[in-house]
């Protein structure tokens, strides 16, 4: 197992190198001079030259890239054009907000999708099953920002139960954090819940038709035992992947919701970096998200090997 993890980590490094290269090249294609934009009205030739030199932008492309990768390996992702702060620090600061939003959204989604998906499969064709289908149809067709706006209007505006936006760190004030995270997490979690409900339902339905489930029923086991021990154990193995992919995509992609709810996460950071042509920050944020994505994949594979005895880890 240790060797497997090590090999996967090395592979991940290669993938990350690819990611940095692609981002680096893409940024070269964007018209406009980032240093100039970064300086804005503070522009004068001296400051301009100094920032260009400090960012290494006066050097040839290859040297720039090699330098970037070399520094990245030591954890140095350069400094922000705008604030002059190290990118690593900036991204790490934003990570808790994004992670806590993504994890809360996925947990909320699972809270709904797990019972709904399992029950609608076990009682397929029932009223509950139809209700679940309507729910997930609704969830995938309504955009999350629309849900977010409706949530703000209803719970912050009309009812006044929750704050309309803003962020409180979980470590500082858990209750305050919870009241702020609920609306954005529910808004993004609804789509996730719909996707997961469908996936769990079809996975459970598929397992229900397996021969070994009939074997379990032939043994005269109580239906609760048949479902929990024989059906769910098998049906949930593929669900693990989908949950992880959903989580990973939320970590990288809740930009609109973060902007809408003034949630200071990596998505919001990416948005601001694009607006300000703050390339080092943009590059750093993308690299972080990619790294988290790869880490999540590795975790899924390890988990898979634990859940499914047929998968031998080589």
């Amino acid at each position: 197992m240790a060797r497997f993890v090590l090999r996967r980590l090395l592979q991940s490094v290669v993938v990350l190198l690819g990611v940095t290269l692609v981002v680096f090249l893409l940024l070269q294609l964007v018209p406009g001079d980032p240093v100039r934009v970064a300086l804005g009205t503070r522009f004068d030739q001296q400051t301009y030259d100094a920032l260009r030199e400090r960012s290494g932008l006066d050097r040839p492309l290859v040297a720039q890239y090699v330098g970037y990768v070399g520094h990245a390996l030591t954890g140095d992702l350069g400094v922000s054009f705008r604030s002059g702060q190290p990118v690593t620090t900036i991204v790490l600061e934003r990570l808790p907000a994004t992670l806590s939003l993504a994890v809360t959204a996925v947990l909320l989604a699972l809270l709904v999708a797990f019972p709904l998906g399992v029950l609608s499969a076990v009682r397929s064709g029932s009223v509950l099953d139809h209700a679940a289908r309507v729910f997930s149809q609704f969830g995938v067709s309504v955009p999350d920002f629309w849900m977010g706006i409706m949530g703000i209007l209803l719970f912050a505006g009309v009812l006044g139960w929750l704050p309309p936006s803003g962020y409180v760190a979980l470590t500082e004030d858990p209750a305050g954090w919870a009241s702020h995270v609920l609306l954005p997490a529910a808004a993004v979690g609804l789509v996730t819940a719909s996707i997961l409900t469908r996936f769990i339902r079809s996975s459970v339905l598929e397992v229900l038709s397996e021969d070994y489930v009939r074997t379990a029923e032939a043994k005269g086991l109580r239906s609760r035992i048949v479902v929990v021990r024989h059906v769910l154990r098998n049906a949930l193995i593929p669900v693990v992947t989908v949950v992880a992919v959903q989580l990973a995509s939320l970590i990288g992609g809740v930009i609109v919701i973060e902007v809408l709810f003034a949630w200071p996460g990596v998505g919001r950071l990416t948005y601001d970096a694009v607006q300000a042509r703050d390339y080092p920050v943009l590059q750093g944020a993308v690299l972080f998200v990619a790294a988290l994505f790869l880490l999540m994949n590795l975790l899924v594979d390890v988990l898979y090997a634990r859940l499914d005895p047929r998968i031998g880890v080589r």
Binding site: D211, T215, E217, A218, K219, G220, R222, N234, I237
Partner: protein, 346 residues
């Protein structure tokens, strides 16, 4: 190395129906009919089937694929698909199953009936150890603790001839060969010392050598444990060796039934004769088998008369085509569904 521990510990018969008359069948079904609602209309998979099996006896249920053999035993024991409507009477150890609420039927089935299904590659749960799959029935029905049930699972794996059963109990199904898996399934079926063993084509998915071993194993267990056996097969070849009585099914109905010797000596339905002729004969190995022409009828669209009429080499007359022949006795205990018993001419 082989760990031998003799006979499995005898579980108590708590919760079993009162001790019964040995002449009373273990399982008796009467007029069993199964209609499955499908998208293309109702499919009558089983129609008016009667048979019974006594302790220590083996009934062979024979017929081509799709003739309703599996559905008969599944419906009788409450395992038919949800879309199926089952009518008729089913008595297991004297209890009328069809009127019982599902929890009670489930308990009786688990406690008194063991099942061996066709494909051991798919009938075991891939994510549970075989020991657990053998032991869970004992926990559920014999009131054993998890530990006791595990001990019993090891004994059962030993009984069915799995080497180093204590170690192998912790292995997963994919770590066994097909034949060994079917032994595991048999151990599972025997875990509560059932009064009835239902084996649904237990050897079809196995190679010839393993087939013979499994047939021998079940026959041996039946002799030692006195279990009643329903053996489903499409191969009349194995019937002579294992069964006392035989019921031949076609298009969801029994077309001929009786003691094995009588049916083999004087097959009276053209379908039985065709099956016997299609049997692989060791003396003529390698020769082309005289396969039966045509295909069995669809349960969605069964003919009004004899279901075998379109393929029948005798062909009979308009009566065969339009009127269902009754099941008539040709000898004591030997019945056949035809207007022309024994007529071989064309």
């Amino acid at each position: 190395m082989r760990e031998r521990s003799g006979r499995p510990t005898r579980p108590g018969h708590a919760g079993a129906p009162a001790r019964r008359d040995p002449a009373e069948p273990v399982l008796a079904i009467e007029d069993l009919t199964v209609t499955i609602g499908t998208r293309r209309g109702p499919a009558r998979a089983v129609a008016g089937v009667d048979w019974s099996v006594r302790a220590g006896q083996t009934l062979a249920l024979v017929g081509e694929s799709g003739s309703g053999k599996s559905m008969t035993v599944l419906a009788a024991t409450g395992l038919a698909p949800r879309a199926a409507r089952v009518t008729g009477r089913v008595r297991l150890l004297g209890e009328e199953l069809t009127v019982l609420p599902e929890p009670r039927r489930r308990r009786l089935r688990g406690r008194h009936v063991g099942f061996v299904f066709q494909d051991p590659m798919t009938s075991l749960n891939p994510v549970l150890t075989v020991g657990r799959q053998v032991s869970e029935g004992c926990e559920e029905h014999l009131g054993m603790t998890r530990r006791q049930a595990r001990e019993r699972a090891v004994e059962l794996l030993d009984l069915v001839g799995i080497p180093s059963p204590r170690r192998r109990a912790d292995a997963y199904p994919h770590q066994f060969s097909g034949g060994m898996r079917q032994r595991v399934v048999i151990a599972m079926a025997l875990s509560c010392e059932p009064d009835l063993l239902i084996a649904d084509e237990p050897t079809t998915a196995l190679d010839v050598t393993t087939q013979a071993q499994i047939v021998e194993l079940v026959a041996d267990l039946r002799r030692r444990l006195g279990t009643a056996v329903v053996w489903i097969t499409h191969d009349l070849g194995v019937v002579a060796g294992v069964a006392d009585t035989v019921a031949v099914m076609y298009g969801g109905r029994i077309v001929e039934q009786g003691p094995v010797d009588a049916v083999f000596a004087a097959p009276s339905h053209p379908y039985t004769r065709a099956l016997l002729a299609a049997r692989p004969d060791p003396a003529h190995r390698g020769r082309e088998l005289p396969a039966i022409q045509g295909a069995p009828p669809s349960p969605l669209d069964l003919p009004a008369g004899c279901a075998f009429w379109p393929r029948c080499p005798v062909r009979g007359d308009a009566r065969c085509e339009h009127e269902l022949p009754p099941l008539v006795p040709v000898a004591p205990g030997h019945r056949v569904r035809t207007f022309y018993p024994g007529r071989e001419d064309a």
